[in-house]
Symmetry: C2
Subunit: 258 residues, 2 copies
DNA sequence: CGCGCGGTTGATAACGGTCAAGACCCGTGG
DNA sequence: CCACGGGTCTTGACCGTTATCAACCGCGCG
């Protein structure tokens, strides 16, 4: 799981490709989507019943903490951030979501969202009406299975994040993050060695639980050590093996998490 | 959710009460158990089919990372710790589980556990065979619903933990933890103002992502500031409001999460 | 042009980690 | 009953990393 093809088109094209029909058949979201467990006939029949696509612009809120859970969302194109926040104003980015990621599952527990979700870039979101989804589950138990899996996956991702925040240096946290992003984009080893960060420094420092200054310095340090080159949000010439070695990770051929 | 009655008996009594029958009818695990969504007749009929209770002793492993998921587990009495670990030996406690907590859901994603689970105290675990559970779900969709909810709850708990680890001082992390524990045990305000920590300093420092020395000092500091009194694993005279105020939390009457 | 915003760099200080020693707890055996 | 020993926990001194405060840079925009 969590390996995505590198065929994701640009946002605009991505939207055009899908806006012609609300069918999920042509959707570019692959394995992670709930509907990927349905065969293509069923997908054609069923998916129009409860899915709805919409565009989002940078900064748009998808849902807020406390909102009743109307839908769960599948990110088609673009990037989201998910934030945990307290009423006193403290808040922290706990997750970034992109193509294929299911968002809003935090609301299943008690019918209300526990996080805020915002668009980091323009993009397209596929919303799955929660009530209709419920009834659909009766007919298609595979969908439920998919939700469970998505939940479990998200839980495991959170554990890894937890691990990276617990007693690691700023540089280590940053390297964990970059490897996580590389893995998500399916770029390994020599295949591709660059990244475009969809978030600004502020969101990234929040996700990593550090300050912007430390983040900036850590980037400079790692650049100096020839782990990669940084220019604003572009990371280039990434030395995958150096990163892995830096964290003392023993990696077996692909597929390992963080 | 996450409010537990304070009727939990001692470990030994708890075990005796249940060992006479494998039926879940008499089980002390309340709202959090999967079967709580079944009416009592169904519970009587169904639960013997797939549940199995067993004793654990301090230090026993319930499952390891990589193990195929044979069962999911409901902690009946006692405490567990769940650890995330890397093959290079690094590891971190990411969760403590006690009465009513469902454990092992991390394995749903890909059929294998991602965490290690160990008993912190002697106790009783109720295992739910995963394969039979699957088939049972066809007949009893409520059970699936319960699993989903438990997953979502666990996810939200992880988010809160994430938040407490991200850019908070040692003292703050510790206070978050104590409030979490208080809430879990359903002891609020003046109702009850003491705690027995089921884990040693080593496990706690791992959970909080700090060192034992810092943990020890933080306990001393907070004791000095009259937040509570500490004696080994006993925390007494807890000033609930001071803790809440210290974290600048605005609390509405009960039920809020951290 | 000048302002504001996001990002970087520098100087300083504090928090927390590290290393080392000592206190306490508790089970074992004399 | 007390002495011993090993593990757990605490305390102390020191040092390093990272937060803090402040200035500066580059860039887009009114």
């Amino acid at each position: 799981m969590r390996t995505f093809q590198r065929d994701t088109p640009q946002f605009v094209e991505g939207f055009r490709a899908q806006s012609s029909t609300s069918s999920c058949v042509k959707c570019i979201s692959k394995s992670a989507c709930l509907n990927s467990n349905l065969d293509i006939d069923r997908r054609e029949r069923l998916t129009t019943e409860y899915t709805h696509q919409f565009k989002v612009k940078v900064g748009d809120a998808i849902f807020h903490q406390g909102d009743p859970i109307q839908s769960i969302y599948n990110v088609s194109t673009g990037f989201l951030k998910l934030e945990f926040s307290l009423s006193n104003g403290q808040h922290q980015v706990t997750r970034f979501a992109s193509n294929g990621d299911l968002v809003g599952l935090d609301g299943i527990a008690d019918g209300r969202h526990h996080l805020d979700a915002y668009a980091l870039t323009d993009g397209v979101i596929c919303s799955l009406n929660y009530v209709r989804l419920q009834s659909l589950i009766q007919k298609e138990p595979m969908i439920q299975k998919s939700i469970e899996r998505a939940l479990s996956n998200e839980l495991n991702r959170a554990q890894e994040h937890l691990f990276s925040l617990g007693s690691h240096s700023v540089e280590e946290k940053l390297v964990y993050f970059i490897l996580e992003l590389l893995q998500k984009e399916g770029r390994f080893k020599s295949e591709q060695n660059y990244l475009h960060l969809p978030m600004n420094r502020g969101d990234l420092k929040s996700y990593l639980g550090i300050t912007v200054e430390s983040l900036s310095r850590a980037l400079a340090t790692l650049e100096g050590a020839k782990f990669f080159r940084v220019k604003n949000r572009e990371i280039n010439e990434i030395d995958y093996h150096k990163l892995v070695e830096f964290l003392d990770l023993t990696l077996e051929e692909s597929g390992q998490t963080i």
